[in-house]
């Protein structure tokens, strides 16, 4: 069961540089990506597939926005908040984006401490990441509530094209679901790290396979992906 252990083995040292090395790897037996474990390869390919899902969502939204004959509501106005008597456009989204990108930082630190087998720091940093993620989802819930109170519905809104609400709820909802799933898995894995499962290579409850610290990095891949997707949603939905 050492398939997940091989991330940083010396194998493949002395490979050819650049494209010739890649060609040599793909021409070799056993593995096309040397030193990449099964789990990590699977996560990368899943993320590629998920990229296509988000791309289709965003392209559909852009098509709707460009082809609608009714004016599109101005995002700067819609997503503005009155704080201390001041009208600040996009302030909530700016804070949400800052929080989510910060969570990528704590996630990267968790991966680092995971490879140092620093059980406590890894678990704490993962929980901090999860807390950032939960905060993000909470603020999103606040934003949804605010818009719904102002009369935005999936089938219409007071300011213009009905597709504004449709796309907004669909895309942020789908992304928020990703964040929520990420938070759940972060907590589950943090619990395993805290308990020392990966130090004793304890077997998984469902899969009966041994666990390794590498799962922290695989979790990190997912988390960074969800953050990256948010950057695109932020750019295409809020800034456009």
């Amino acid at each position: 069961m050492a398939e997940t252990m091989l991330t940083n083995t010396a194998q493949g040292a002395g490979r050819l540089p650049g494209w010739r090395g890649i060609a040599a790897d793909w021409a070799s037996d056993q593995r096309a990506f040397k030193n990449v474990s099964w789990g990590k390869a699977m996560m990368w390919i899943f993320l590629l597939s998920d990229t296509f899902i988000f791309s289709c969502f965003l392209l559909s939204y852009m098509t709707a926005r460009m082809s609608t004959t009714v004016p599109w509501p101005n995002p700067s106005e819609v997503f503005a908040l009155n704080i201390g008597g001041k009208h600040i456009p996009l302030i909530l989204i700016a804070i949400m984006t800052f929080i989510l990108i910060s969570s990528s930082g704590t996630m990267a630190m968790a991966v680092n401490f995971g490879y140092r087998r620093d059980r406590v720091r890894t678990a704490i940093l993962m929980l901090v990441t999860a807390a950032f993620g939960a905060t993000f989802v909470g603020m999103q819930a606040f934003e949804w509530t605010k818009l719904i109170m102002e009369g935005v519905r999936p089938w219409g809104n007071p300011w213009g094209a009905a597709q504004f609400g449709s796309s907004f709820f669909m895309i942020t909802g789908f992304h928020g679901t990703h964040v929520t799933i990420g938070v759940i898995f972060l907590i589950a894995i943090a619990r395993k790290v805290w308990r020392g499962d990966f130090d004793v290579e304890r077997r998984g409850f469902f899969t009966s396979r041994k666990g390794y610290y590498e799962i922290v990095e695989i979790m990190g891949l997912y988390w960074h992906f969800v953050d990256l997707v948010w950057v695109f949603i932020f750019a295409f939905f809020y800034l456009w």
Binding site: E3, L6, Q30, F52, P154
Partner: protein
Amino acid sequence: MVDVPYDGIAGTAIPPAEVPDVELYHPKSWLTRYVFSQDAKIIAIQYSLTASAIGLVALVLSWLMRLQLGFPGTFSFIDANQYLQFITMHGMIMVIYLLTALFLGGFGNYLIPLMVGARDMVFPYVNMLSYWVYLLAVLVLASTFFVPGGPTGAGWTLYPPQAILSGTPGQDWGIVLMLASLILFIIGFTMGGLNYVVTVLQARTRGMTLMRLPLTVWGIFTATVMALLAFPALFVGSVMLLLDRLLGTSFFMPALIEMGQLSKYGGGSPLLFQHLFWFFGHPEVYIVALPAFGIVSDLISTHARKNIFGYRMMVWAIVAIGALSFVVWAHHMYVSGMYPYFGYFFATTTLIIAIPTAIKVYNWVLTLWRGDIHLTVPMLFALGFIITFVNGGLTGLFLGNVVVDVPLSDTMFVVAHFHMVMGVAPIMVVLGAIYHWYPKVTGRMLNAGLGKFHFWVTFLGAYLIFFPMHYLGLLGVPRRYFELGDAAFIPPSAHSLNAFITVVALTVGFAQMTFLFNLVWSLFEGEPSGGNPWRATSLEWQTPETPPGHGNWGKELPIVYRWAYDYSVPGAAQDFIPQNQPPTNTGAVQGAAS
């Protein structure tokens, strides 16, 4: 001395194992061994049986449609709404729930680990989940037959706006459950598909390079990669259509009159759905075709006792077809209202696909040329596939060109074309593959006499059914029509031709029962096959046990020294050299290629 065997051809050492041997999940009870099994071979059988069961439903639906078309007005239990529902469910089941699931979930699960020399898929637990989600999707789909209003009658393409408007059958429940079932299918497939891809890329045995894989694995692998990139578009389209139907959003719905009243919708784009659907839908054609291409290459090579002609070209043709199929989707939309230059672009890319496809057909024929052809049942089906596929491919050239496609759109010509190219042809391969690998799965041969009867009835029958449809299409007979009425341009002969097609279709359909009988009878009474009845080279025939045991390979994983096509090597003791046979045992002359 460390065990570092030598590759006789290149004279280089086969590298030591990079990944230590996998410790498998060992089932503790009957339930975890046969029902909630994590063994890819059991999962493959579960996938195949489920797909075949729902496929039989689709077969019965096609009989009902043919009864109506052949003898309109005769059968009072078929009305126009039901006819549309039959069409929709037949198409959807055949394309997605039967062919995709059978090729990737069935053959993929069984053959990939065996052919690449792995003990199982890389993540057996996820693989098991994949099957159960697929089963749930099938059950949701089947449940639409029993809900109020019945299944959706929107056509398998589910085009909005009509798919979700009142007046279309199944508007209440059918369309909602259909979309839910598709979403489930995609989730389930993704879990399996990730397994297939990672297993091929990262879990091959020592000596098994990508360019030594049997073409079956190349076909299934490429199709799976395509499915992982194409299904997202269907997923997104389904989610948005579901929101349009349930929440009243207007992604795909323009302002229109529904039942004499202005509907609640407005501002959406029906064309957007078509783009999303066909960005999935065209790759889907090749998701079904590429595994068939791969399997048929192996059948032909094995049963003609000759190496496949142009192996590298065959691999690159598969990859090229896979890549090109993502840039041709709008050739399904020539009559949908598109900027004309887009039509030129998509016609050009469509015709370019003919090049790698033709390479494959030439290579199959050249493999047969001067081969030691054994007309076994799998070989008969493989030959039937080549002829049928060439036929369907040539009518594809008609439909790929804008000016020819426009008058032929939505006629029976289209029905004839896609049934030949992605209905009959892949099913020929499925049947041939079952005759070929049944001995490995069960340890017994299927009855060859019944098999030959089955082949000739199916092959000749398919031509009698679908060839006349080309002619009907050229006459202008539209597809998806409940009845033709007294249109002046349809001669009486077209009506009698329709009756003829119906009679043949029912006959061929019932002849499939001999195949089902053969499957069950041979399980108990078939001639014991031994481990390698076809004297084939690829790894799945070299397992220590037949059927292969849990973990496939006993104590030691096989080591691969050669490609999968060392048939009739001059000077060799036998007319085939298994992939795991070390070079020193083969006599003076080595296999021609590495």
